[in-house]
Symmetry: D2
Subunit: 386 residues, 4 copies
Amino acid sequence: MTELAAVKAALKTQAVETPSWAYGNSGTRFKVFAQQGVPRDPREKLADAAQVHAVTGVAPTVALHIPWDKVDDYAALAKYAEDLGLRLGAINSNTFQDDDYKLGSICHADPAVRRKALDHLLECVDIMDATGSTDLKLWFADGTNYPGQDDIRERQDRLAEGLAEVYGRLGDGQRLLLEYKFFEPAFYATDVPDWGTAYAHCLKLGEKAQVVVDTGHHAPGTNIEFIVATLLREGKLGGFDFNSRFYADDDLMVGAADPFQLFRIMYEVVRGGGYGPDVAFMLDQCHNIEPKIPAIIRSVMNVQEATAKALLVDREALAVAQREGDVLEANAVLMDAYNTDVRPLLAEVRGEMGLDADPMGAYRRSGWAAKIVEERVGGQQAGWGA
Amino acid sequence: MTELAAVKAALKTQAVETPSWAYGNSGTRFKVFAQQGVPRDPREKLADAAQVHAVTGVAPTVALHIPWDKVDDYAALAKYAEDLGLRLGAINSNTFQDDDYKLGSICHADPAVRRKALDHLLECVDIMDATGSTDLKLWFADGTNYPGQDDIRERQDRLAEGLAEVYGRLGDGQRLLLEYKFFEPAFYATDVPDWGTAYAHCLKLGEKAQVVVDTGHHAPGTNIEFIVATLLREGKLGGFDFNSRFYADDDLMVGAADPFQLFRIMYEVVRGGGYGPDVAFMLDQCHNIEPKIPAIIRSVMNVQEATAKALLVDREALAVAQREGDVLEANAVLMDAYNTDVRPLLAEVRGEMGLDADPMGAYRRSGWAAKIVEERVGGQQAGWGA
Amino acid sequence: MTELAAVKAALKTQAVETPSWAYGNSGTRFKVFAQQGVPRDPREKLADAAQVHAVTGVAPTVALHIPWDKVDDYAALAKYAEDLGLRLGAINSNTFQDDDYKLGSICHADPAVRRKALDHLLECVDIMDATGSTDLKLWFADGTNYPGQDDIRERQDRLAEGLAEVYGRLGDGQRLLLEYKFFEPAFYATDVPDWGTAYAHCLKLGEKAQVVVDTGHHAPGTNIEFIVATLLREGKLGGFDFNSRFYADDDLMVGAADPFQLFRIMYEVVRGGGYGPDVAFMLDQCHNIEPKIPAIIRSVMNVQEATAKALLVDREALAVAQREGDVLEANAVLMDAYNTDVRPLLAEVRGEMGLDADPMGAYRRSGWAAKIVEERVGGQQAGWGA
Amino acid sequence: MTELAAVKAALKTQAVETPSWAYGNSGTRFKVFAQQGVPRDPREKLADAAQVHAVTGVAPTVALHIPWDKVDDYAALAKYAEDLGLRLGAINSNTFQDDDYKLGSICHADPAVRRKALDHLLECVDIMDATGSTDLKLWFADGTNYPGQDDIRERQDRLAEGLAEVYGRLGDGQRLLLEYKFFEPAFYATDVPDWGTAYAHCLKLGEKAQVVVDTGHHAPGTNIEFIVATLLREGKLGGFDFNSRFYADDDLMVGAADPFQLFRIMYEVVRGGGYGPDVAFMLDQCHNIEPKIPAIIRSVMNVQEATAKALLVDREALAVAQREGDVLEANAVLMDAYNTDVRPLLAEVRGEMGLDADPMGAYRRSGWAAKIVEERVGGQQAGWGA
């Protein structure tokens, strides 16, 4: 196989998981702007996700969020997904929207609240059993707003205890993916604020526990690709929550704010052996002002473009320049791949996959956008509160 | 008058404006945790504000937010406030919660949306006429989330045009206070992102236009007291929106995150001649997880403590050390005031004002907290969406 | 002229000024790593700069730094430059390396130090008269390390007074370009920390005073293209000091850290009418670990590539999408230009200018690097301290 | 023992290590301002350190930096220290100032450079054997300036290999303290950029390897006390490099920029059982513009004041409020300690220790400052380059 053929083959196997909640309404603390045609239940979210997969060919799975995607029969939901050409992906827990969680969930000072949160997490594993999902993605909003509000260290003890119980419940082939976040919604101290904390907990839990990198969850100036390289080296990178941000956790379309950073991240993934089924590539975004389905298509394409560029890096030439300490040449080798316009290559790949070369155009021409506006009238639109 | 007597006299004249919305519910994009006893209309907010003034003696005015505080008869509301021992303060506009404002208000590309926003702003001046408020506080959520989304420069042109129309409507003794904000809810570009932009617009508008400094609206590392000193030097500091933050616009209690910074700000206010009626000292906070009235009392006290320390700086000794280039001594003079425990002094001041030395205790003993929980049952609690 | 022809024509007129000091040694506070072949005097710096211009065709001027480039006969130096196909560019002052400037220069509390600094600035205008330079570029390291160290406001008064005297000395066709910087080497308060401060001073000085944007001199998260658009709208953008940074003022090669940001900046320049002789495009970089001449060539090429992409933006299509509030399409129009590989276009432009299509290769093949290593033996290498 | 007596007893046992290099000249990349009376050799540095200990009573040890403090006979140096009432503290390595280290030291691509760096580190352990120092403090300037410059992951492999060799050389009672740093002097990627990386390496090395927290080495917004609490919980906090900063690694006097943060850090130290001999409290500062000895005295006092406040926290009341979820009361308990003016208490403690109540005044009156200016004439002043 020629090198280009290998790149194309790799691109054809790509799988980007889209999140059910990105098809629903979202917003800021100031306002949620509702959009027409937004899904009203998990099946309609899956129907939208199927459109994304239909035009991109690389978005075969959909992450669920419990309770936003609560249904009576998860096996039936999985079957429905299958009929749409999809599979259900990671199960995302929610321990931040019940009134009891005002001061935390599994880190709360009150054992009753911790128990309630843990029961929810265990229920999520039950759901995984029903859906066949392999990944339990845990993000905790736990933290404090004011110095002194709670004991930082005891909260770590409670966290460790809770995680251990959930970990013990995991079946074969199931993983616990622990997400960290720099700030928000807790403003003073977050209980899992950085990769180091997530890593330390996962290490103690065992092999089935890995860290998730959300690209929007870091302090300004943080070198994310360094974290990616380090976690891969430690065998502890479980996956990504992709999105992009200019300042806080903006949850914009991945690749929109800093496409060069996305490329550097994907390069470390490829270089570190993380391009494959063991690392989950998920989107976690909010399309507050732009139409949701096309925004997700664009996001999937942005990941593809960054991946294509990462795969095109001449690693032999790079290794030579690095070994020789040729700073400018090593940088130039990397930039050469980044500066390449990979859109024609991806159009070709799509053609070979039997897809339209232009996913955005294909979606536009499909009439789906008009159809859902017309059909999805009445009912309660899906959103973060539903 | 001795120096200490002068400090006490100055502290007795302090006036901190509390915002009506801080008495209602607020939260993050993830969750609004409702609290018991929260006001259901502007009068109940004023009743709560009266408690704050009753125990602190330095919170005589309340800022309104339109439409959250919309009433049929503003003169009657003003009278109601007066009966409670309060006055109505600044009128705050809202051009971010109508569906039409998804892509902006007075900076929107569509003239119809701009007109609608402007009409709202003009209505706010009408309300000022009715309430006797002197300050129109303008914060614009306008901005863009993605590069290219709109033309940065044309948005400035529209902003200038809109502001000019509002400015032209101001009566004698009325001011326009323009707020800037680094980010949120727009993530890529904000139309009034920094003091420089606000200043440039105010300069062109004229003498009645001044800049408001919200202490939570800056990039990390920004020296806020420098901005305060500069705006005072330019005669363009209109007031403060006080709160505190660790990372983004957290809207925590003022002085909670960095009390030393608050002291430095108050020192520049005092040093620059800004301690007086021309600079409005307003709170703009969100008490998401803590009870609201005591949080506001604490905030007022934090401002008082920072002010007391600022007033205690030995400015003569400071000037000598500065002139001599004695870095350590100049810093030590400032720190000496900061390190002073001013709580006994403030207790004394309160005693001389006929108040309880301990405002938090006085509020606790008043029984107000229990009373509102009992009485305010049913109805729609006030919040950002109401 | 077709559109592409217009783009090419515009690219051929580009002029990027390289700084004499970037050809000398530089480093961090931890270590300056000397390089072989580094110039030992201003003439050798010019000789290196001539190599950059020879292979890129768009680097015709060289900025001087006084006293680092002090010579007895500036007219002779200008003549020497001319013989090399170059012109002398902006004169950069230095009021930070004399022992007297430990606590500041024109903002210093001591009038004698201020006088000394002002005399230096006036001398720089004398040098401009001799060299024919039109731009006096002023960067002040002035500031304080500790709260209280000096009076923030008085320092502004001294700054204003000093700038006014220098401004009064400017001849016809001469400008004062005022640079701002967020932090370093002063750590607590910098006397010209942001564009707002520089703008306010320039406004009072008059038309010959304009602001310089150094792309590395901002707080994290700052939207630099917004500042560019705003200054152009105000007629106050005098020029750029280009470089790039990941966290602080790293002074890396422009376009190396965030090429997308450089593109957005260049787009606002083009869109705002700033692409032309009135806005100076200067580099201000430190090549601490990479060879200096090729790093400067690469930097010039990076500016060219960003400019080419900015010129390729389909502004009509963009305006339509913006007017229609089509967020994704507007963003896509911008990204379409950014994602274009403009290297073939620039190769063509170079060919039409009679240059080698590959400036880096041309320089490598020229043998200059080996020549200067061989010839420049002995003497004192140029650096920041010399 | 009463509670206050316990606090006083704890304060009397405090030990803050001062760094030999803080007595010498330092500066920024722009300029090193030399000061009169600065030491010219390690003995003179120790003589200055003895003054700090004489007036504070809590600065009994001095950290050395190799090669800046290289001497022929370390045992003699240790004896000299002893005669001054001091002990030699941590040995700090330097692998960043040799020309060979331009692209790194133990992470360098070239095995010969790595060997050289390792030999230096091993030599530092030899010195520890001679001086009786127990701590080897390792800070690596290693990193890259440009994406692609070197392989991030291979550098980690080299780092691990190098650390293992050094670790193996440690004797009984000797520790390796690994420091992390967010950025500088490498601008793109630092090889030990955060506590997570340092922790992961120390974990693999073994019990004698622990992490050092330099308070200036974090991204903006980082909650340092969280890291302290976490490392103590993991048994991996080896010590502190104290200093303070407003934006980057400013190396200002500890407690000067954010005294509230220092208090919060010291509270977590006390609460987490880290107040004792197992955690080294070291200063690592640069007194660029202020006189060095008094700046260090002030810094030691600032640490004392923060410690006193931390010891005064009413932990029982705090635990009650935390358990009850009383956000405001818990915060108030903490703030009550912070707002206490502990200077009278520390004056008392000093009196009981037989010291002057006013260390700054005692130093001023000692005449030492004038004496060293007079006596230390000629020779080469100590600085970072020496």
